[in-house]
């Protein structure tokens, strides 16, 4: 079959499945799937850049996604009154001191001759630096967290909350993720591939631990709610007579119409982002740079012999891919309207994206996008399907039996199981994915 025809058919099938959900369940459910599918597709695009183009194994996607979420808080929320004067400058001073201290330590380490003297001096400087840092940092944090802890207790953000300006947080989320990726890449790239995997796994957990515990930053597990959104609020639409009239013209009531309108607006925004990133990724893939990346992926030694700086190129693409994940994370937090660090789970945010890339077809941008939609759809729909299967299996059992109750209750855990099976089956029988690399 003609590949173009086949790919169009695959996208059409996924589209039909979502449309079927819309007709049988509700269009709101279908649009929720579409919106998260768009975000998932962007994440998959980022991972595909790293894995499909360059063969880098990044299992820290969750961390970059969470950093994007942090950006929406720091850009969108209003600054907490008095927080900066109370302790914000202290915290900032602590950070400036920490960076300066690290620079000094590195310089001293370079200047001194290797040996016990250097090791002792460097260790002593690091310990002293740490205590000075804590002495600057702790009072600032206490002061900030003491301000109205039930509502704020954090520094707050820049307060960019007008209309489309909110979208500014998305590229900033990308920048945050890129900065973190640069630090990780600088240390772990160039070592063995497994080490990058462990390092990214670790940094993701640490980013989540930071978000959970540093209340002064984004309120930790107290969550930030009511993030500004680029779309109108449902309630405003329902109070707008012109909108109600138009909704009536379509024959739907104002409440449903307003929820659909908001979701469609998000879908429009997300589609624009996805298209921009897709065009850029396609251009990159077909450019000399993209060819070089694939050459490095397929044979590092040969590429190095041809004068390509493998480590630098790896760093470049690692930062770019992570930035895309950060953008997607920021978009997701904007869509949710809240940042809840407790909900970031590696199985959901890292490994699911991996399943998307592998099932869709690593090395092919369209494959990644298809995988994003398809796997997200399955992830949402496997639970009701599992419940249905369980009810079918247990239909013959006596009501109230412990096994029946246990089986029905456990249906929720079918998700992980199914995703694992899907991943293994695709890897085994169709390792190039649904839309293989050309």
């Amino acid at each position: 079959m003609n590949p173009v025809l086949k790919n169009t058919a695959l996208f059409a099938i996924v589209g039909l499945m979502i449309a079927y959900t819309g007709m049988t369940q509700s269009w709101n459910t279908a649009l929720v799937i579409v919106n998260m599918g768009l975000i998932s597709a962007i994440m998959a695009l980022g991972v595909n850049l790293q894995w499909g183009f360059a063969g880098l194994f990044n299992v820290g996607i969750m961390g970059f996604v969470a950093l994007g979420g942090l950006a929406t808080v720091l850009m969108g929320m209003p600054p907490t009154p008095g927080a900066w004067s109370a302790g914000g400058w202290n915290i900032l001073a602590a950070f400036v001191f920490a960076i300066a201290a690290i620079v000094v330590v590195v310089v001293v380490r370079r200047r001194m001759a290797p040996g016990w003297g250097r090791a002792l001096t460097v260790t002593a400087m690091l310990i002293a630096g740490f205590f000075i840092y804590r002495a600057l940092f702790d009072p600032g944090v206490q002061a900030v967290e003491a301000i109205n802890p039930a509502l704020t207790g954090n520094l707050g953000g820049l307060g960019i909350d007008r209309g489309l300006w909110v979208v500014l947080a998305w590229p900033v989320g990308g920048l945050f993720a890129a900065a973190a990726a640069w630090v990780i890449g600088k240390t772990a790239l160039g070592l063995r591939s497994d080490y990058l995997a462990i390092a990214t796994l670790g940094i993701a957990e640490i980013i989540i631990a930071l978000l959970k515990n540093e209340d002064w930053l984004a309120r930790g597990v107290k969550n930030v709610v009511g993030l500004p959104r680029p779309t109108p609020y449902e309630i405003d639409l329902q109070n707008d007579p012109a909108f109600v009239e138009r909704a009536a013209g379509f024959g739907i009531d104002a409440v449903t119409a307003s929820t659909l309108y908001v979701k469609l607006a998000y879908a429009g925004l997300f589609t624009v982002v996805l298209l921009i990133l897709l065009i850029l990724a396609q251009r990159a893939l077909n450019s000399p740079w993209g060819r070089m990346m694939r050459a490095i992926r397929d044979n590092e030694v040969a590429a190095e012999a041809m004068g390509k700086d493998v480590t630098a190129r790896h760093l470049q693409i690692f930062v770019l891919g992570s930035a895309i994940c950060g953008i997607a994370g920021a978009m997701m937090t904007t869509l949710d309207g809240q940042l809840t660090p407790g909900t970031y789970q590696p199985l959901r945010f890292t490994f699911l994206v991996w399943v998307m890339v592998i099932v869709g077809g690593s090395g092919n941008n369209f494959g990644a996008i298809l995988g994003g939609f398809l796997i997200w759809f399955l992830w949402v729909q496997v639970e009701p399907m599992g419940l249905w299967i369980m009810q079918l299996v247990t239909a013959g059992m006596a009501d109230g039996s412990a096994l029946k109750a246990h089986l029905i209750e456990s249906a929720a855990h079918m998700r992980l199981f199914t995703m694992g099976i899907v991943l293994l089956l695709v890897l085994r029988f169709s390792p190039r994915g649904l839309i293989p690399e050309k």
Partner: protein, 336 residues
């Protein structure tokens, strides 16, 4: 100045918990390092393998408890442990047969095997949650303490109490026994030697007539034993919750890498390095320092370097430092 009390406080809050945690990490890291040495990939499913073995042990413990069988002062889980190990061996052999063997025959790149092990992680995690659910399970019984803080205080008349939990004692003792048996096996028996030969140089080992499938099978059997023991000991000491085992993956890998991947001695050393750094950095030193320092110099704050929530960050930092300055680990590991 009160040296004795300071020493007891240090033992109670740092050294004994550190030893127990270190032993658990070392057993986990031994499993990871063996798989790395023989099968040549980082097994991300190791945490969930531990969870599976521990889960079967928990189920058998409950069964024995319902039958009224117990080991007296020792936890019944020890009696159920062999059943957990057997079930885990079955699971790992089945996984190898159905999943890994295909890629081994293909001579797939290690990173592909890592991704495959991610898929296995998903499935094992799903199975465990499906059978026992995602919640905390308690399965500890028997005597809680070898020495409780109160009896110790009454015995010695010191102000500080020293509590030594049965689980901590069992953990350390079991780890010592397991490690001795493992090293005896690797260094003294024919099969163990063939495993080391295979790990050192695959081609040479094949040439000298070592059957690779047999080596791989024995590796999985040993790993199943190690993972189940580590999982059960951790579950007894803390509590059994499927998801915590996934989070153990990072400290376990950190231990294995810090020691040098593929090197069993390194895995043990790495386990203790990681455990003690986590415990010392997140312990509030106020108590010990108050005993040690003159009264007017006693610290006001908790003197806790990092909050306990950053335990992971500590193991990660140690990992980074070792990777940057000694990329093959403290003991020479292997690089693929």
């Amino acid at each position: 100045m009160d040296l004795l009390n300071a020493l007891i406080a240090l033992l109670n809050f740092v050294i004994i918990p550190g030893m127990a945690y270190g032993a658990q990490l070392a057993l986990g890291a031994l499993g990871v390092t063996l798989i790395y040495g023989i099968l040549r990939f980082s097994n991300f499913a190791h945490g969930d393998t531990m969870a599976f073995g521990a889960m079967v042990t928990v189920l058998f413990t409950w069964l024995f408890q319902s039958w009224g069988i117990s080991l007296g002062p020792l936890p019944t889980a020890l009696l159920a442990l062999p059943f957990g190990i057997i079930a885990c061996m079955g699971l790992l052999l089945a996984t190898d047969r159905m999943v890994y063997r295909f890629y081994r025959a293909q001579k797939a790149k290690p990173v592909i095997l890592v991704i495959v092990s991610l898929g296995v992680t998903f499935i094992m995690n799903g199975i465990v949650r499906f059978i026992i659910g995602p919640d905390d399970q308690r399965f500890l019984d028997g005597e809680r303490f070898i020495i409780s803080a109160r009896t110790f205080r009454e015995m010695t008349g010191l102000r500080e109490g020293l509590a030594f939990k049965t689980t901590q004692g069992i953990t350390i003792l079991t780890a010592v026994v397991v490690v001795i048996v493992l090293f005896w096996f690797l260094n003294r028996t024919r099969t163990g030697k063939s495993m080391r030969a295979y790990s050192d140089n695959e081609d040479l080992a094949l040439l000298s007539g070592i059957n690779p499938e047999r080596v791989v099978m024995i590796t999985w059997l040993i790993v199943a034993g190690l993972a189940t023991i580590a999982g059960v000991l951790y579950g007894l000491d803390k509590s059994f919750k499927p998801f915590t085992y996934f989070h153990l993956l990072l400290p376990i890998f950190a231990s294995a890498i810090v020691g040098g991947l593929g090197n069993p001695v390194g895995a043990i050393a790495g386990g203790f390095v990681i455990a003690f750094s986590e415990v010392t950095v997140t312990y509030a030193w106020k108590k010990v320092l108050t005993y040690l320092m003159p009264e007017n110099l006693a610290p006001d704050g908790l003197v806790q370097l990092l909050s306990t929530d950053y335990k992971l960050a500590v193991s990660f930092l140690i990992l980074l430092i070792v990777l940057l300055f000694k990329p093959t680990g403290l003991f020479k590991g292997k690089a693929v």
